[in-house]
Symmetry: C2
Subunit: 250 residues, 2 copies
């Protein structure tokens, strides 16, 4: 029996955690229950302070400490590969603090920015223009921009006003994805499709969904003729590949 | 901060585990991530021997021991309310063995047969006829039949040949739900809808989906004019009610 165990830091948000687990299952070759990989999801949203507020300097409470505690709990429960379906929380200011909690443990962490940029590189050539849909905090920390530039791709972002609209689609209390995840509202789909169209008009070769809430609303493989990468799906595939490459679906 | 924690015994099958967690989220009043309840899902399908084989006497390996170990792991990781989205595994021959592992722990177990029959009683009057869709093993152990009779409802089951077709819809290696969960195949939908129709023709007041794989295929609130109860959804609502009744959606 394969005793590897995947540990998912959930709750950021809860439906993004589920979405990653589902995509791990979806990308695993399995006919019987027993063919699936061992996965733990710990979804403790009320333990984790809001990420953007910290990254944008509105609070000093670093969510990395709570995330680190959840990571340690997963390791103590038996996980040897961890993943966290939240791009914003991969900002070094948060992630580096979290990872300190498991610094001396025998566990690997699969990084969503790396898995997404690897997939960008697989389907595009150097100097390709990559349109980014992400939270304001993720864009402000330039997580993806730096990683894309290092991979010789050109990040393309929306104008600030449109970035704020994308943020609203995620976190608006009335119609946003956090408040209505299943199903998402028509308002959210309209905002995000309009944002994708604006990026397409800027001239892009790939559209990258760099926030794990966005694929809950945008589920197609291409928008406006632009091949679209779902960062959550790249993370799911990277996790399966890390422990059972022979089970990764084509 | 509310420190209750729900522990889900997943992997029986993996998608049924996800479906329960999703229905817990769906039935929780929440606008922000932090409003959601704390949930752990431990999906270890390769640890758990096949349930029907044991219940039908084809093997002596009781899956209750593996399930008990997972229950204990959830409790040690902090869960104080457990639920298991698999009707078949609620057979006393399995469940009683599993529960021994947490006999002296401060934890409650929310029972899917009880939550489903409570919902049957809420929407029907005594002497109502309740159509049952379930695995052959669940029907053979008469789990639901006994519980429904105790609640003064009349269980109605398919003829053996049709029960076998429902079992096939769940576990056939080529087209069954275990092999193709997302999306399920058209073959499976056709088989299960035909089975529901046959039950409807037998004269029933309520259709009860008493296998946690079936709601992955049959997702409507009624079939052939018969109000339909999804046992997984009743379990999700019972779990939310157990620890945060004020958060249960109407």
């Amino acid at each position: 029996m394969d005793k590897h165990c995947i540990g998912i830091i959930g709750g950021l948000g809860p439906y993004a955690g589920l979405d990653l687990v589902r995509k791990i299952f979806d990308n695993t070759q399995a006919i019987h229950d027993q063919d699936h990989l061992r996965v733990m999801l710990h979804s403790f949203p009320s333990d984790i302070p809001v990420r953007p507020e910290f990254l944008l300097g509105k609070t000093k409470e670093n969510p990395g400490f709570a995330i680190g505690k959840i990571m340690l709990g997963l390791v103590e429960a038996g996980a040897d590969v961890l993943a966290m379906p939240c791009n914003t929380a991969h900002s070094p200011a948060i992630l580096d603090v979290a990872l300190q909690s498991i610094a001396h443990k025998n566990v690997s962490f699969v990084h969503i920015i790396s898995s997404a940029v690897d997939e960008v590189c697989r389907i595009s050539t150097p100097a390709s223009r990559i349109g980014l849909l992400a939270t304001v905090a993720t864009l402000t920390t330039e997580l993806y921009q730096k990683a894309l530039l290092a991979a010789k791709r050109i990040p393309v972002v929306l104008d600030p006003e449109d970035c704020q609209k994308v943020q609203d689609a995620i976190s608006n209390d009335t119609y946003g994805i956090k408040a209505h995840s299943n199903p998402v509202t028509a308002t959210v789909k309209n905002i995000l499709e309009a944002a994708a169209e604006k990026l397409a008009h800027k001239g892009i070769d790939v559209l990258l969904l760099g926030c794990t809430e966005i694929p809950l609303a945008l589920t197609e493989k291409s928008y406006f003729g632009i091949p679209t990468i779902d960062a959550t799906k790249t993370l799911a595939r990277a996790v399966v590949k890390a422990i059972a490459p022979e089970k990764l679906k084509a």
